[in-house]
Symmetry: D2
Subunit: 364 residues, 4 copies
């Protein structure tokens, strides 16, 4: 095994609180503890395609621990194996992975720390397997749906934004006797909706793993009205779907006579609740607010541990691996394994059962 | 003049942080300082129509100062002079103001404190002028667009939600080299967008008072790109409008092939920016998050002062008046005057000019 | 085994964010899921001594999920086995446990859920073992130092207060080129200081488990100065202690000529740093701010799970047990075991080593 | 009048949220609007003594708007007219103002924007009057006690920290039936204590302008107990003082038998309340937490306006002036006038009377 002298680090995929904390830990550990040099790679794999790399020093990472975003920039559309190019007016996807290898060789990068979600780790795996590029992965996903690790940084911060938003909507719901629908992140997994729903006291929680029946949703709300609760809070994953069918998405046409209230699953659920219960309903789509801002202390600690352990893996020569969280420990799993098993909410899990026992409806 | 023994208090219109602080101050001042009794009226004027009133004691208002919402409930559709009823399958608007008078007389309410926006104060004025019901108004509007007062409670709290949301979007915008559009409240007045835009460092601010040219918006963003700033933050009032025309609103039809990204002015602006600049653009609609949550200290103090002064006006027999803020003082203005002059952003005002000098574009 | 019909619930010991979430979950689960009645016991065991119990319904726990404090009240000085009484001008400690048993019997309480720290659980254990009172414990400690459970609710919330306070002090430290010392909770265990220190980027962390040498602390600070960092942040557990000796506490005498800057370990460390480094030093003692306010989403979820599982244990007839967190699961451990093994920071643990690698000093 | 080409900017005195917002507005306005060059002066007047100045560009101020602290550094002990030097083992104060003039001339600084409190503006005034250095002041004080301006930036942010801390202590006070004392900033003026006390629902507020009688304080607390309120919140300015005498400060001696609970006025008041009422009392000293963190939107806007107008004054050749806030306008007052009239709470003001009417005691 070649001795490592210089490591590259990149962040790819959607923004996530804690990215800077990982970068800081990687740089400090690499330089202070092992005497490595560190190169920053801009905008994820795009930086390797476009030769956009630069030295990272301790000074560069000073003060970034509490900051959202990533000082390296990110990109979620630049897969070097399927790189989008415009040619003769047409869009094509070409393999530019050779260019990436050239950048790596030219800059004498011995190993890359790739911080990203399942898409990113799949690309890292492909470079590792096909070209033998030493790779160490750091898992990143707001949605907490990445396999191989108990939890990822960013999830706790997103959960806080979601929960405190539910808190905010609560008083308006109660004062106006309204149904408030809030759509949170989670395309394939309902972790944010489930945890924020329980933490925020949601009356209905709809997640991708439990397809809902809108009539059951309306029943839950109406049962509350009978008990004197003239308002309800409905927490919906962006990936929630009705039983027996995908969401029917909608097309817009210009028409000045129409009200302005449209959109994704949150609005669909809101419309249907209003129709079925006759109660005034309002919809909030949280969107990107969940990705921004200063990471929570939990996420800062986890991200820092991930960064530190990623460099430790390099020192131990364990490539093709991803750092992961198991209980109170940081361990490593193979990139292959990580990409294979996404984490989903088990409809029979303890937390779902508990939420039901406490009176929360899941539309079933 | 009849001696006041019992006052009624109601909250009407949209939710607003600080309503509970006003109620608390009214109740405590009335009971402790002047020995009045206080009746709470539920859900705005609807409570007077439906005879839904109840005694309010100091115990009822204990601990509500930092809470969002209103313990009295509110309603923004129950104008007693144009009350919506369903009759023979048709919707009609009838005058039920006599019923209100009966409730007032039956409960021996000597004067009413009406906490609400311009709609509410117009109704209060009509009861005062037509029936001689002693009325004292307390101005309430998130949008800060009510005449006769420098500022209203709720605005500062909404401003904080808007500004901190811009802060959150900032890091994602920068990391992803994106344009982030954020739509904030303000149907007729751009105060929230202007103040939050300046406080959050928005690069473009679009408000109803300054109709925008989308090409100018794109120019501002592109000028930033040339200076090396690969991201921009665009703050849009919900009532912003393009030059020479109203917003063309949009109609939806079911079509599973369409992406889910539609809606109001924020989305319209976002779509057009993406089209014109070719930059990835994301839109966040803040909506009801701006109305909820614990009021800011500024709003708690202002709301408390308003409640205290409303009862003082009662003690002094000054009816048909509304409390108002002028500089550091609380004064009173006639309800008639208050309803007449809405506050708008002056396009030539100092703050707008300053924002321009600092580099912010207004689409002109 | 007698069939359970009525359960009592009490909160004892210091305030802790999440207590209301536990109470809410106990009440809702007991009533909805198992049809039990619930009695609230006021002010911990004091309520059983003073016969201060009352029925708890779903209505009583409505809306308390996000609230700090405990609706049951608490007390941390009322051990029924050593109850403090004043007699003939003297203080005596007497055993009033019989009175507690009478209250339990009179009110037909079949089992008690005791929510509290190690002191509380020891009392619960004594009632269970000596009198056979069915007891189920719910662990509670800000400091996270209770054995038998990975983590307790309240810790994450305290951590946030501590971390965000460090964030606040950071900018002042940097602007003024000062050393800022912050004393956080943790009499016997350094968890808050360690986690907040890492999450807040503390330059020195002093905890009870690692006695410090003040000269080493000064060295760390001076090494930073040499690297151009003219400020440092020092995070100190209230139970931190110098090598080879306990803290020398201090006595005050009236003397108008003295400056006002005194106190516990934080101030001692601050004084000594100023003396040894000559740098301007300021000390902040966080104190009770760490115990108050709305619980974090993490704590709300954990507290809710604890409450739900406590009632499940009752249903399963598992008394003398405490609910506990292990990985992602909620399990149960015997009260005896829980009281026996306090959790301490291992000076050789991964997180301590990591903090050192990142440049943080521990005064050794 | 010489044409201005280059302006210097410095921040002096205690840290204050909003300093960076002023600096940013000064730099952007100077460069974009008037084509001036800007030099940053490090650590207040110390930078002029030590020749520590450097060019400030738009890039330097990018992203600093929401940040606490000051990128220029500050110092509150470096008065060039009384500069502290050590000579022959003795401390002397010498006049080094000539050195300042040399630095100004050497760097061709045409005018200086001095951002600071009354001490800073007095120094600025002396340079203006004695040496004819063109000076424009920007008022800065957390305590809001500077004359000539309605309000200063930083106050609203400090108020928020103070109020939200009271909120946090509230739940613990209530759960434990305790008196919670909180000491906030305000050495000479009680603005923070008064506003935060009202906004946080404080039961007693003690400020420098209204010397208190501790027996009256105890009476207020005991009256609450009689009404069933077994807790109280006492908000104390650091400069509060008892009737007929200054605070007796305290001296410490080493004595391991003493408890660790000492300090300033907050602790004195806490001790005396505990003694007089027999109620458990806890004290929190907020200290530097009030100076740090991200400025509130209100402060960001005000600070930005101040910075913009300071440069406008330069453009208009109005030197020896300070920007100030009057109602909704930014105006200018002479530095001489500003230093002369500190703002104090009027014991007969509307807000004090209101607080009393609502039941708050002032110890009189």
């Amino acid at each position: 095994m070649k001795r490592v002298k210089r490591i590259g680090v990149l962040t790819a995929g959607g923004d996530c609180p804690g990215l800077n904390a990982v970068i800081r830990a990687v740089v400090k550990t690499a330089i202070n503890e092992y005497g490595y040099e560190v190169l920053g790679i801009r905008d994820g794999f795009a930086g390797l395609i476009k030769k956009n790399v630069f030295p990272l020093t301790e000074r560069d990472v000073s003060g970034i621990l509490p900051r959202g975003g990533t000082i390296l920039g990110t990109s979620n559309r630049d897969n070097p194996f399927k790189y989008k190019v415009e040619k003769d007016g047409k869009t094509e996807f070409v393999d530019v992975s050779e260019q990436v290898i050239k950048t790596i060789e030219y800059n004498e990068i011995d190993v890359i720390v790739s911080i990203g979600g399942d898409g990113t780790q799949s690309i890292a795996l492909e470079f590792y397997e096909r070209y033998g590029v030493p790779m160490v992965g750091v898992p990143k996903t707001i949605d907490n749906d990445l396999g191989g690790t108990d939890v990822t940084f960013g999830f706790d911060s997103a959960l806080q934004v979601a929960t405190f938003s539910i808190d905010k909507l609560h008083s308006t719901a109660e004062s106006h006797h309204r149904v408030m629908v809030i759509e949170v992140m989670g395309r394939d997994a309902g972790w944010i909706a489930l945890h924020a729903g329980v933490a925020g006291g949601g009356d209905v929680i709809l997640i991708p793993e439990i397809p809902y029946d809108i009539d059951k949703v309306a029943e839950t709300i109406e049962r509350r009205v009978k008990k004197g609760k003239r308002f309800s809070l409905v927490v919906v994953s962006e990936g929630a779907k009705p039983k027996g069918g995908d969401v029917v998405v909608k097309k817009i046409v210009d028409d000045p006579t129409m009200p302005i209230r449209l959109g994704g699953i949150g609005n669909k659920v809101g419309d249907e609740i209003e129709e079925k219960t006759g109660m005034e309903t309002r919809v909030t789509v949280l969107g990107h607010l969940q990705r921004g801002g200063s990471p929570s202390p939990f996420d800062r600690l986890l991200a820092t541990r991930f960064g530190y352990h990623a460099v430790k893996l390099i020192h131990e020569g364990k490539f093709g691996q991803m750092v992961a969280s198991k209980g109170n420990d940081i361990v490593n799993v193979s990139l292959a394994e990580a990409a294979r098993n996404p984490r989903r909410v088990d409809p029979n899990s303890d937390i779902v059962k508990m939420a039901m026992a406490l009176g929360t409806g899941f539309g079933i």
